[in-house]
Symmetry: C2
Subunit: 213 residues, 2 copies
């Protein structure tokens, strides 16, 4: 991969989908697939797929198709999931439980190592195999453990303050579920999950369909 090449965010959004589809193909015992077949399955054009993959050097042979396992592994490397990522969660609510108890993340090497909260009545209670720690321990914990990603599942009103504590501890990547922008400096990587906005897109489509029909 050309290290200085700027990959468009649209391509970056499609890569995890390719990865997921290829994973499903592997589960189904498929060893080789043409860009045409892959495109029909994914509902994008075959030339789109070829273009996307050419950003990373191209993995197919004309008329011969892609080796599914090889392509899966290569896209995994591009996505940075060919190694483990240690994470901690701040905010020990139901969403934290859902994330801890989902096997999906660990399967891809995203390991939730600890859950923090500032509510003393939660201290030591269990979420999955983890015991909830207090925020007063957070800074020391980060110093002594190799944590790469902090997951914020705190209420919107406190998210900015908590994010600043996280960044002050040296964390560079945040997966943010709080429904607000964190406004951190540009060297901090923030991936937002705004569920309310997803729901509004759904209701927009409902409203718009009703107008058209």
């Amino acid at each position: 991969m050309d290290e200085n090449k700027k990959i468009s965010s649209a391509v970056i959004k499609r890569l995890p989908r390719y990865y997921r589809y290829l994973g499903e193909l592997i589960e189904g015992g498929v060893q080789r697939i043409s860009s045409k077949e892959l495109s029909m399955k994914m509902k994008v054009t075959a030339s789109q797929i070829r273009q996307d993959l050419n950003n990373f050097g191209g993995f197919g042979q004309q008329g011969y198709g892609y080796n599914v396992q090889y392509l899966y592994n290569e896209i995994g490397k591009i996505l940075g999931i060919n190694r483990t990522h240690n994470m901690v969660i701040i905010g020990a609510g139901n969403l934290a439980s859902a994330l801890v108890n989902s096997g999906d993340f660990a399967k891809r090497g995203f390991l939730i190592q600890a859950v923090f909260d500032n509510n003393p009545t939660l201290e030591g209670l269990g979420i999955g195999d983890l015991k909830i720690k207090m925020m007063s321990e957070f800074s020391d914990y980060i110093k002594n453990n190799d944590i790469e990603i902090v997951v914020l599942t705190v209420p919107r009103q406190v998210a900015k303050d908590v994010a600043h504590i996280v960044v002050d501890c040296g964390i560079k990547a945040i997966w943010n579920f709080a429904h607000t922008d964190l406004n951190l400096s540009d060297d901090i990587i923030v991936e937002n999950v705004h569920l309310s906005e997803s729901l509004m897109r759904l209701s927009y489509t409902i409203a718009n369909n009703e107008i058209i029909n």
Copy 2:
């Protein structure tokens, strides 16, 4: 709004953000804002904002700015959140608990009316104020209640089958948290929340930053 005009998905993705920012401005007591100020806050260009809003007739006056409350209400109408939407969840796990216990959705008129599961040991247990119902009751429940959106928080492996049951009951809109595509007919509206893909975009950015630095 021109009923036949096709609005791009990029605009539709930005609308909920506008709505959120305007809501925060209202909370902060701001009554009027220029597209320039709004653009600085939102990190898009002022002309982008004007273009986006012009899709819906335009709400601003040159040199005078937008009336925040008016714009908020109008965008709310466009997003279809000027009325309530009744929802039910299928899959009574931690994610369902998180959704039921979040006040965010009800505040915007998305009301979770029931939670279903097929595990008999969960029958009648509480999630928030709701008692878990069995899937055997689903079809009758949908017949007798005005439900618009079904939220799928079931495991990936059963999601397609459950989605077909949902559609057979006449539901037209699905908010899908299962990490698979449902492959339903085109008249069914599906909004996907693929958390694993969000996390992979995060790790892509981490990997890519490491290469560059």
